[in-house]
């Protein structure tokens, strides 16, 4: 195939890629364009109504939305931090310490992710509820803030996304030569120094991947908050769903979607910059 002339290559590439590209255009790009159009079209949406930015203004000027956005940023960021706290040592263990157990751990992580997500979130009700496992074990009056609270949402989010946080970091650490760490040990670096000066900087690209794959989708998650959250943990994803399905306000809902995507894009860009800076500092 490499020896063929340029235009035959182009033709066979077109033949192979025609079906997937068409599918993406029709069922992904077009719906997205409709979403953008909906966010710009004046209410009531019809041919004569014309375009305006009023939906965006409605989204940004609504105090309730700002409050919900703030709650979401806090909860999602805490969940992300919790996951990194678990994923960094876990990935380190898998790469450098697990030996023959490495593939087993990787498969276990994948299997955990493939089990029904709605069921997995719901299972936390049994543990955190008023008559749940924790309150049954702990003496004294039942603790009420365990379930239907921001705490429960953080826990449920962290279990839902831990696989996609760990695997990219694992992949990045896989590229680190064990010799690097041995040299650091020989030169007298303690584990914390090695962690800070070698592991984290070299795993930075993986941490960035995790941020893209996990942090952005978490902003739109409404399953966890629906099932184990309460009024104080009403998230952006739920708000958007309710505006679209309950209130039927498609214009504002679409604008909200796009504002949310824009915001998470900015966060991703910051994460990317940080991972780049880190790499430059170490190379």
């Amino acid at each position: 195939m490499t020896r063929r002339a340029g235009d035959t290559t182009a033709r066979s590439a077109a033949a192979v890629l025609a079906a997937p590209t068409t599918a993406l255009l029709v069922f992904f790009v077009v719906p997205f364009a409709v979403l953008v159009q909906m966010s710009l079209i004046k209410f009531p949406p019809n041919v004569a109504s014309g375009f305006s930015l009023e939906h965006y203004w409605d989204v940004v000027s609504d105090q309730l939305n700002l409050k919900i956005a703030l709650t979401t940023v806090v909860i999602v960021t805490i969940a992300m931090a919790l996951m990194l706290l678990i994923a960094l040592p876990l990935a380190y263990y898998m790469v450098f310490k697990a030996g023959r157990r490495e593939l087993f751990l990787l498969l276990a992580l994948v299997v955990a992710d493939e089990l029904a997500p709605v069921v997995r979130v719901y299972a936390w009700q049994v543990i955190l509820g008023r008559n749940g496992l924790i309150n049954w074990i702990l003496p004294g009056p039942p603790i009420d803030w365990l379930l239907y609270s921001p705490f429960a949402v953080v826990v449920a989010l962290a279990t839902s996304y831990i696989t996609y946080t760990t695997i990219p970091i694992y992949a990045a650490m896989k590229a680190i030569e064990p010799v690097t760490l041995e040299a650091a040990t020989d030169l007298g670096a303690g584990w914390f120094q090695q962690f800070r000066r070698i592991l984290v900087p070299l795993a930075a690209p993986g941490i960035f991947v995790a941020a893209i794959l996990v942090y952005i989708p978490m902003y739109a998650d409404f399953v966890a908050a629906d099932i184990v959250g309460g009024p104080s943990s009403y998230l952006l994803g739920q708000r958007i769903r309710d505006v679209i399905l309950e209130e039927g306000d498609w214009g504002t809902g679409s604008a909200m979607n796009l504002v949310m995507l824009g915001l998470s894009g900015v966060f991703a860009l910051i994460a990317y910059r940080m991972s780049r800076l880190n790499r430059m500092a170490t190379s």
Partner: protein, 296 residues
């Protein structure tokens, strides 16, 4: 951490590591195990203490017609979505790894986009597009939207495997007189078969378990995740939800585990790890505009 003597590759894990792994394991699988435990509890409230052993929730689950319908719908959807994704995803992986052409980076980004964009956004956009095109919501709309946001996963897994493949082998086969079809059948296919199997399993479970897209594009019918969603709010239903969740999770666990084990036997563990991590790499490189294949 036990760590000032850094990496002793095959050393037995220290107590701190073991405790850590235990906590992670409990965090990941504990809730489900407890759900299974409660599914045998002879009480219709989801609470301790344990009232005694019973199988009646399993009986009730098996007799629930709305659950039958939901499980059937989920199965139909996944049975169609998985093969469609395998075909579309493999074509895309092949096209993106084997040809150089203008706009290849942009196309790779487009393929990766559904993996990054939240399902909420995709579901809502699909709902609006179907409404605009006057398409009645139902199983076909769910299948179409799910297929489009699941096949990039197949592309990622198969692409990672194709990238590890020595092109020289294909060229050698051509030099030895193989035609295109023979090259595909005897050289390329055996190499990507484990990746195809893994991708098929993932596509099936993604589709079966998907809540968000079904919730927006299914209309008035129910899939299994949608049924669970509406049932957990109904206190009379929780015991049945426990039982059926335990059953479904056990079946899925078995299928995935056996499937992955079989695949592992057909391939090196190095290739297996590459396949699994390949998926995550494509997503990210698409976002940063890099070439997904060279990143894998």
């Amino acid at each position: 951490m036990s760590g000032s003597t850094f990496p002793r590759r095959f050393a037995r894990p220290g107590y701190v590591w073991r405790a850590f792994l235990f906590v992670v394991g409990a965090f990941l699988f504990g809730p489900l195990l407890i759900l299974v435990f409660f599914s045998f509890n002879d009480s219709n409230v989801l609470a301790l203490p344990f009232e005694g052993l019973t199988l009646r929730w399993y009986g009730a689950a098996l007799a629930d017609p709305s659950l039958h319908r939901a499980l059937l719908n989920s199965t139909i959807i996944a049975v169609i979505v998985a093969p469609v994704c395998l075909v579309l995803g493999t074509l895309a992986a092949f096209g993106l790894t084997r040809f150089r052409f203008r706009g290849r980076g942009a196309l790779a980004g487009l393929v990766a986009a559904p993996l990054i964009l939240p399902w909420l956004v995709i579901g809502i956009a699909a709902l609006m597009a179907y409404a605009k095109a006057d398409v009645t919501l139902g199983l076909p709309t769910v299948i179409a939207t799910q297929a489009v946001c699941t096949f990039p996963l197949v592309t990622a897994i198969v692409g990672a495997q194709l990238f590890r493949f020595e092109r020289v082998q294909e060229e050698a086969a051509i030099d030895l007189g193989c035609n295109r079809f023979q090259v595909l059948r005897y050289v390329v296919f055996p190499h990507v078969a484990p990746a195809l199997a893994a991708a098929g399993i993932f596509a099936f479970t993604w589709s079966f378990n998907n809540y968000e897209i079904s919730a927006f594009t299914l209309g008035f019918q129910q899939t299994f995740p949608v049924w669970v969603y509406s049932s957990v709010r109904d206190p009379d239903h929780t015991a049945i939800v426990n039982a059926v969740s335990a059953l479904i999770s056990a079946v899925q666990l078995l299928l995935i585990w056996v499937g992955l084990k079989l695949i592992k036997r057909r391939t090196s563990s190095e290739a297996a790890t590459a396949m699994i991590t390949g998926a995550t790499h494509v997503g990210a490189s698409g976002a940063t505009g890099r070439d997904p294949v060279s990143a894998a």
